[in-house]
């Protein structure tokens, strides 16, 4: 008899501790049940199993809904109070030990981890509010936590080149081969709200389309001579001027030359006063790709510069753009824009005008093509160029002549020297 009762006591104790682990609510209930069971003379084993089954049945719903209040931990070294800085917000899912907030006390930053996995239900102290050891901090709803909300806004604004631009980037060609190495685009969910940048770009592009009578004329440029010139001089150029000699300077200078020759392309219509504003200076906006997106800084008074001056200016602006140092005056004004879709590998395309200007030159990729030269077929490095212009101001003949002038300068820079 003695051994039996001892057995029961031991098992009763074990069952009790099992219940305690599950939830304090059940302790009293479990005790009563155990007492009843022992009183009825049931075997220890069946009591234990009955209790554990009951415990599990009662525990399951309680665990799922349990909301606990997490208190401020005691501070070290007898410090009394600190400021709370929230890392998580109401509704955020947290895992066990994940930092929910930091408390700054006396030059010390103390991390407060979550005691369990769950969802933040309520923050009991405002950000920056003062707490002492033991002050209730936040309420946590324990459980596996809600599925993470799909990261829609972030994925949508993931940088597709270019995204951070306040100016409308000329859309790359819709005709022709797509470059083989496209950057991997993350999957985009169905409905995404437009962010402000995109709204602004959209508005300005539509404005440009609605005011200007836009159309595009094309031509092609034989890049052999300019490539040869570049090859011959690039090392010496780098040595003397400490920057690389590219193709942009040729096109920028050619454009400036042509703009001086055809002032209408450098002018703009003032819709409010119904005037044509002619400008005797040539400020060219050049699209520069930076890690943050497309920026369009302006090179001032290009009509007075030579190739070297232009390369230096482009370089300087590119550096400033990359270091995020462009100022308002760097991007204001501009009488004409040049954009280079060639860096992405475009073959052909229609750029869109950048208001308040009247025309834009689009450069495309340089590809080897068979062309007719002096009655024979030769392989030459060719670039298609496009001029989108405002027909309200610039007539077809002027546009074509303008583009042909650019072509002649780039194909033979001696034209500049001889003022042909």
């Amino acid at each position: 008899m003695l051994s039996h009762s001892r057995c029961l006591t031991r098992n009763f104790g074990r069952s009790l501790s099992a219940i305690r682990q599950v939830g304090t609510k059940l302790t009293n209930f479990g005790c009563c049940l155990a007492l009843l069971a022992s009183g009825c003379g049931e075997t220890a084993a069946s009591v234990r199993s009955a209790l554990s089954v009951l415990a599990l049945a009662l525990a399951a719903p309680a665990l799922g809904d349990e909301v606990i209040t997490v208190k401020t931990p005691a501070f070290a070294e007898s410090v009394t109070e600190g400021d709370v800085r929230w890392e998580k917000a109401v509704g955020d899912s947290v895992s066990e030990d994940e930092v929910v907030c930091e408390i700054e006390t006396d030059k010390t930053s103390v991390q407060v981890p979550s005691p369990a996995a769950g969802v933040i239900e309520e923050l009991l102290v405002p950000d920056g509010g003062k707490v002492e050891g033991g002050t209730p901090l936040f309420k946590l709803k324990k459980g596996a936590g809600a599925a993470k909300a799909p990261e829609s806004p972030k994925a949508a604004t993931a940088p597709l080149p270019p995204s951070a631009a306040p100016t409308p980037p000329p859309p790359p060609s819709t005709v022709g081969p797509i470059p083989t190495t496209m950057p991997p685009v993350p999957p985009v969910p169905a409905h995404v709200k437009m962010n402000r940048m995109r709204l602004r770009i959209a508005q300005r592009l539509k404005e440009a389309q609605n005011t200007c009578a836009m159309l595009t004329t094309f031509n092609e440029v034989d890049m052999s001579n300019i490539s040869e010139m570049r090859k011959a001089y690039k090392d010496a150029f780098l040595k003397k001027h400490n920057i690389k000699l590219g193709f942009m300077s040729a096109f920028v200078k050619a454009a400036a030359y042509a703009l001086v020759d055809q002032p209408a392309v450098n002018a703009v219509i003032n819709d409010t006063t119904k005037e044509i504003v002619y400008r005797d200076y040539v400020d060219i906006s050049v699209a520069v790709a930076t890690p943050k997106g497309l920026v369009v800084p302006v090179i001032r008074n290009v009509e007075e510069m030579n190739f070297t001056d232009i390369e230096k200016a482009i370089n300087l602006l590119g550096e400033k753009a990359r270091k995020n140092e462009l100022a308002v005056e760097d991007m204001d004004g501009g009488t004409f824009t040049i954009s280079n879709g060639g860096v992405f590998g475009s073959l052909f395309g229609t750029p869109i005008i950048n208001p308040p200007q009247s025309a834009i030159l689009g450069m495309h990729g340089i590809f080897d093509r068979p062309v007719a030269v002096g009655g024979k077929v030769e392989i030459r490095p060719m670039m298609y160029v496009a001029l989108t212009y405002d027909h309200r101001l610039i007539d077809g003949r002027e546009a074509v002549t303008f583009l042909r002038k650019i072509k002649s300068v780039v194909e033979d820079p001696r034209v500049l020297l001889l003022d042909m």
Binding site: S109, Q111, V328, D332
Partner: protein
């Protein structure tokens, strides 16, 4: 000067093939490390790495480091309120946010940083500071060195030569402090002032104190001598036998994952995006040239996570039509609180205007951008 920071008292510099060799020497209750790098982000990343990866339950570590000129703000501070970002940009002095609390400090090669790593149980800042004060008293007994209740170290009872900050994680802790050996005090005065007027925030403020260098009072104290004294005092206080070891915080083999920690510390999101919400309220002085005229406008901005959350620009309607000042305010929403970002956003707006309004709008843009530091 950068490479010669590693001063070894005796013995051979062991080549560490992995961090486990470095950190799990069971014979020693502690370790003294000297960083070879003077890049603040690399050094802060090393601190993070040690805090996250080394088992500090049985041992403590002292890390000695210094940085090229940098301004380091505390975890919960506001960089625009604490330092002059435009001046720092032209002087090419970066700003870094550390993970420990406390105020803003200026680091340069004359400022020694000491980080005491220990378990949470063994966290004792006074004991750490005693190592520093005892070391100083030993090498220059004539100097009056005292640690205060606020855990600063004062020279001659007045000048601060060391400030303290620390961080308590789940199981580990670190306490770091500066020690002014020969820093450029004129730079401190210029760089540690607000970037722009009218900032109102509940971020942790810095408490300015008069500072001095040890070399101003003990000109013969060499850098190496100071390091030696501290290392010896630490070793005797914590019962170590091994000498100090040089480490390269950029060594990914020794500290796997340190590179990404460094990248996070260097990023805009950590440095500026972690700023507690603040507002800017200031008056803008506008002017026009032809005809000469002036006007005052009110700017009110709320910045959250480093981005403009709300913006109001109140310009008299006689100066600029309301739609323009409204679209200007609208253009800044969601942009980073940064003069360059603002300039880019506003230039798009400017492009759409022409005529007499253009110059006034342009002036407003310039003044607004200048008010953003």
């Amino acid at each position: 000067m950068l490479g010669t920071f590693c001063v070894l008292s005796a013995g051979v510099q062991r080549a560490w093939s992995s961090s486990s060799c470095l950190f799990m020497d069971p014979s020693s209750p502690g370790l003294v490390l000297q960083s070879q790098s003077t890049d603040v982000f690399q050094n802060l990343a090393l601190e993070d790495w040690i805090d996250a990866h080394v088992d500090l339950q049985q041992r403590s570590i002292l890390l000695l480091w210094r940085n090229r000129p940098t301004v380091v703000i505390g975890r919960h501070q506001n960089p625009w309120a604490e330092c002059n970002l435009p001046a720092m940009r032209s002087a090419q002095v970066p700003v870094a946010r550390r993970r420990s609390g406390g105020g803003t400090v200026y680091h340069d090669l004359g400022n020694l940083n000491l980080t005491f790593f220990a378990s949470k149980k063994a966290y004792d800042r006074r004991r750490n500071l005693k190592v520093v004060t005892d070391a100083l008293r030993r090498v220059r007994p004539q100097l009056d060195i005292q640690a205060t209740d606020r855990l600063d170290i004062l020279l001659n009872g007045r000048y601060k030569i060391s400030g303290t900050a620390s961080r308590l994680s789940r199981k580990s802790s670190y306490h770091h402090c500066t020690l002014l050996h020969s820093a450029d005090r004129s730079a401190i005065a210029v760089l540690l002032r607000p970037s722009c007027p009218g900032i109102r925030s509940n971020a942790t403020p810095s408490i300015p104190s008069p500072v001095t260098n040890l070399t101003d009072h003990a000109p013969s104290l060499q850098w190496e001598e100071l390091l030696e004294a501290v290392v010896q005092q630490y070793s005797s206080e914590f019962g170590l036998t091994s000498s100090s070891q040089c480490v390269d915080p950029a060594d990914e083999a020794l500290f796997p994952g340190v590179g990404s920690m460094e990248a996070e510390l260097r990023g805009w999101q950590w440095t500026f995006g972690k700023t507690p919400k603040f507002s800017v309220e200031t008056q803008l002085e506008l002017r026009d040239e032809r005809p000469a005229a002036r006007c005052s406008a009110q700017l009110q901005l709320e910045v959250k996570n480093g981005r403009v959350e709300s913006c109001r620009v109140e310009v008299p309607a006689t100066w600029l039509p309301e739609r323009l000042s409204a679209s200007l305010a609208q253009a800044l929403l969601g942009e980073r609180f940064c003069p360059h970002r603002a300039a880019a956003a506003l230039s798009a707006l400017l492009r759409c205007e022409s005529g007499p309004l253009h110059s006034r709008l342009r002036n407003l843009c310039d003044v607004l951008v200048a008010a953003m530091g």
